[in-house]
């Protein structure tokens, strides 16, 4: 099996993967970082969103081997020195989560939206940009509020 290495949350990691191993499988099973979730088989739900080289990627749709050498950030890697990322804090403050399963993907997508669209986000922009993330609990109302608030503080 081919060996790959990448930087995950600032740490150099390596491991052997099969050609078909998905990035999310490498993250969850090989590295044991289970904050990144799998909610569907078709790249619709976004529970698996991580950042690869600074861009939001659905890790269920990327091959691990294709990310050889990449810089990957997962939900476990965004709090710095024990301080929550403003987007994490905003999700808590605005009750942007209930069961928590879609939350890591929502937060990672939220950060990515800010990177692409700026800190002053209109509600409609957020709703449109969340096309690739499904939540079954919140009705999105508080997720939209959370991303708006988190963006302002980033």
């Amino acid at each position: 099996m081919p060996a790959i290495s990448m930087t995950v949350n600032g740490e150099k990691v390596c491991g052997e993967v099969e050609g078909r191993t998905l990035l999310v499988e490498f993250i969850r099973n090989t590295l044991g970082k289970t904050g990144t979730h799998v909610g569907c088989d078709t790249s619709q739900c976004g529970a698996c969103v991580v950042h690869v080289n600074g861009k939001a990627v659905k890790s269920c749709t990327a091959l691990a081997i294709a990310c050889d050498g990449a810089d990957v950030t997962t939900i476990e890697g965004i709090a710095k020195d024990g301080k929550l990322h403003p987007m994490q804090e905003a999700f808590r403050e605005n009750h942007g989560l209930q069961c928590g399963f879609c939350t890591p993907g929502m937060i990672m997508s939220g950060i990515d939206i800010v990177k692409r669209k700026g800190k002053k986000l209109k509600e409609e922009t957020i709703r449109e940009e969340l096309e690739g993330n499904i939540c079954r609990c919140t009705g999105y109302h508080n997720i939209v509020k959370a991303i708006q608030a988190g963006a302002a503080k980033m």
Binding site: R28, T36, H37, D41, C45, C99, P104, G139
Partner: protein, 787 residues
């Protein structure tokens, strides 16, 4: 109210682990040496199994065992059960066909589990499963509930003639017929309540682990009610007696009903672990498996009629429903279209005569059971679509027609079992009308028309029955279990508190709201309280979380246990402060002796209780730990008014929900932030049902909506910002005065939206989901008129 007590808008204690990726869901747990299960599932909706050849699969790399229905029968693994007995009109019991954990002789829906392969890795199990060679003889299938009882329809179970599980009735037939014969006007609707897939974002998962040394099983599972799972797996399926089976439901990523039920896969993981020599066996559903095997919701075909007199008063309601049960009776399936549905057909209205008939039918589809609201959304849809349509036919304002018929005196006994204990339906209607600016609607409609948009407004004045439910009452209606809840309060010597509850949180925020109750009662901060749930080794027993029962039933059990804690602590405090017990008062977290300055904080009394130096232990036992079981005295009756405004693009049929007002009466509210979140989520699921979601089978029983590519889950841009408010009548049947809020949105929303849509289009009915294509078809009359 203390800062962290009842009514506080407290951010959630449980959030930290979820926002940092430290949640612990079933698939996040990996046991040493675990193997993986993959299920071989039927590609046919209906077929005889002629032969299963497992030889090649058994020899495949990494495979530990391949098991079939014959193996299950040999090992005495029992079948899945339905725990609610319904009797037909003629007194005969419902016709429950066998439901083996792996098919025996026949498959009855696409996705029916036929065999399981256990292998070292998930990929090995999946690859080997493809080598299991099953020879089927395909049979004709029936998927449409309206066709299931027709002469010559394929028979799903031998035990059920005409695929009829039961023919049930409720209400007074003769009086209702008489009311209709005297009616000034009758409004009639043919309604389909579309089939839905619950789609909790966490797919179902299980790890079964057998310890040969102790002859003991452990099951990690995505369950809303781990104790009920243990009870059924022990007492009915016979895997192990209860003391030899531990069931753990850790963090669970949403349920919405679908994780109440006892499914085949978790049972098979337990059994397979023993068969594989004690290797833990993990199974995680792929989303396509979720669509095929998680119990679906709704799927009613209904004819409903409303009789009114010359003054616009409702005099009768007559309903005939065919309810699709799917291919097997799931755990509580039979209760949903009966006692959870037809008992709510009085809505918020004084309807003197009601008669409902429900035929439950088998089809070659995935089993149907409770999904958020469970029967009550279907009832609300019938009542509220009828009320809106009747108002239009009578030329009355839909708000005023409702008001004219509201129940205003409580308690109110309906003709369909329920006795409503409290409510003020006019208050929620008034507030909602004000919030939506009802008077300004005509102006908004005219403005929309200028943009080529058809604007509509629709109401849903729903009622539901929650806090399920008094045990003797549900027992008399056929339930196989009691529906009480248990709680244990463990006070530690330092005064911190652990609450062990039989409720289960899978998004509802119990770790926060239950702690708020303790904070309120004991005067300690929520940080000093832990909520323990979801583990049968820790919590003695519980009935779990569904039917919006954790507040009204679960928290009342905690409240009762806290009463006992307070009483015991008072005894301890009295001894320590050398006072008479009757002189000791407990307020704001401290015990004091009337008329003196003697005082002890709650923590000091807790320590004294454990040190046990200062009281006679022959009179007062050391320690501070109490438990309680609470059996509710009535259902609770949350109710409210939702108003939807939407605009339809006349060119494309695209519907945009532009405003939503919800005014709900949940009685007392523990944490408004969490309650609002529950309403938001419920509305989204209701909007999903009305606009985007629908499980579709073809005539041969093939599932056409088996992934998120085909089944349209509502996205953020399908919903508007939601405007919520509350009215309050306290619930008289529990000491906290709370009613429950988890299902209200999903119950209210579809009728509000479809009433608005039919208003916009000027038509009587549009089927759900109202996709652009469906709406465009429904606008044919407008295009013709324009030509």
């Amino acid at each position: 109210m203390s800062e962290t007590g009842i009514g506080a808008r407290l951010v959630r204690k449980e959030d930290h682990r979820f926002i940092t990726g430290k949640g612990r869901y079933t698939d996040d747990i990996n046991l040493p040496g675990q193997a993986f299960a993959y299920f071989v599932r039927s590609p046919h909706a209906h077929a005889e199994i002629k032969k299963i050849d497992t030889k090649a699969a058994a020899k495949a790399p990494g495979v530990l065992c391949v098991l079939t229905g014959d193996d299950a029968a040999k090992d005495g693994v029992g079948g899945l059960i339905c725990g609610w007995m319904i009797h037909s009109k003629d007194g005969s019991p419902m016709k429950a066909g066998p439901h083996p954990v792996l098919a025996q002789g026949k498959v009855r829906h696409v996705g029916d589990q036929v065999a399981v392969v256990v292998a070292r890795t998930r990929d090995q199990a999946k690859a080997a499963a493809a080598l299991v060679n099953v020879t089927y003889k395909p049979l004709d299938a029936v998927a449409d509930p309206a066709k299931a009882q027709k002469r010559g329809a394929p028979k799903v179970h031998d035990v059920a003639a005409n695929n009829t599980v039961f023919e049930w009735e409720i209400g007074n037939k003769d009086a209702t017929e008489a009311a209709f014969s005297k009616a000034a006007h009758v409004t009639k609707l043919q309604l389909v309540n579309n089939r839905l897939a619950p789609n909790a974002m966490e797919p179902r998962a299980a790890i079964g682990s057998y310890d040969a040394g102790e002859d003991h099983f452990t099951l990690y599972t995505t369950s809303q009610n781990p104790h009920v799972a243990r009870l059924v797996i022990s007492a009915f399926i016979g895997i192990a007696p209860e003391h030899k089976l531990r069931v753990i439901a850790p963090d669970v990523g949403g349920g919405f009903g679908s994780k109440i039920f006892i499914y085949a896969e978790e049972v098979v993981c337990l059994w397979a672990s023993k068969r594989a020599g004690g290797v833990p066996v993990k199974w995680v559903a792929e989303r396509s498996e979720s669509f095929l095997t998680d119990a679906h919701g709704r799927d009613h075909v209904t004819t409903a009629e409303l009789a009114t007199d010359a003054n616009g008063k409702v005099t009768g309601l007559r309903v005939k429903t065919i309810a699709n049960m799917g291919s097997y009776l799931s755990t509580f399936a039979s209760s949903v279209p009966t006692y959870l549905y037809a008992t709510l057909l009085s809505g918020q209205y004084n309807i003197p005569n009601i008669y409902a008939e429900v035929d439950a039918v088998y089809t070659n589809t995935t089993p149907v059971d409770a999904y958020r609201g469970a029967g009550r959304p279907e009832a609300t849809y019938v009542v509220e679509r009828l009320m809106e349509t009747a108002a239009r036919e009578l030329g009355m304002d839909p708000a005023e027609f409702r008001r004219k018929n509201f129940i205003t005196q409580f308690p109110h006994q309906t003709p369909v079992i329920m006795c409503y204990d409290a409510g003020d339906y006019g208050a929620s209607l008034d507030k909602a009308l004000e919030l939506i600016d009802y008077a300004g609607f005509a102006k908004r409609k005219a403005a929309a028309a200028k943009k080529g948009k058809l604007r509509g407004i629709g109401f849903s004045n729903y009622i539901e029955a929650c806090g399920i439910a008094p045990s003797a009452a549900v027992g008399s209606l056929g339930a196989g279990v009691g529906l009480w809840e248990s709680a244990e309060v463990r006070v530690n010597p330092v005064g911190t508190v652990e609450i062990l509850t039989g409720s289960h949180s899978h998004g509802q925020g119990h770790e926060t709201t239950f702690a708020q109750l303790v904070s309120e009662r004991l005067g300690i901060s929520t940080e000093q309280v832990s909520i323990v749930h979801g583990d049968t080794d820790k919590v003695q027993f519980g009935m779990g979380t569904y039917g919006s029962r954790s507040g009204a039933v679960g928290m009342t059990a905690i409240s009762k246990a806290l009463d006992k804690i307070e009483a015991k602590a008072k005894k301890v405090a009295a001894h320590v402060m050398e006072a008479s017990e009757s002189d000791v008062e407990f307020k704001n977290g401290s015990f004091s002796v009337k008329g003196t300055d003697k005082k002890m904080a709650f923590g000091e009394v807790a320590l004294a209780a454990y040190v046990a130096h200062k009281f006679p232990t022959s009179e007062v036992e050391p320690g501070l730990k109490e438990g309680a079981f609470h059996d509710p005295t009535n259902f609770t009756f949350p109710a409210g008014c939702h108003i939807c405004e939407l605009e339809v693009d006349a060119e494309t049929g695209v519907t945009e929900v532009v405003d939503w007002v919800a005014v709900d009466d949940f009685g007392n509210i523990i944490n408004p932030m969490i309650v609002e979140g529950q309403v938001h989520g419920g509305i989204a699921q209701g909007v999903g049902q009305a606009l985007t979601e629908g499980v579709v089978y073809d005539d041969g029983g093939q599932l056409l909506t088996g992934s998120y590519m085909d089944y349209c889950m509502p996205r953020a841009d399908n919903l508007p910002p939601l405007r919520l408010d509350f009215t309050k009548t306290e619930c008289p049947s529990n000491p906290l005065g709370i009613k429950g809020c988890g299902e209200a949105g999903a119950i209210a929303a579809p009728a509000a939206l479809m009433n608005a849509l039919t208003d916009a289009l000027g038509v009587k009915d549009v089927p759900m989901p109202a996709s652009p294509q469906t709406v465009w078809k429904a606008m044919a009359h407008l295009r013709e008129a324009a030509e």
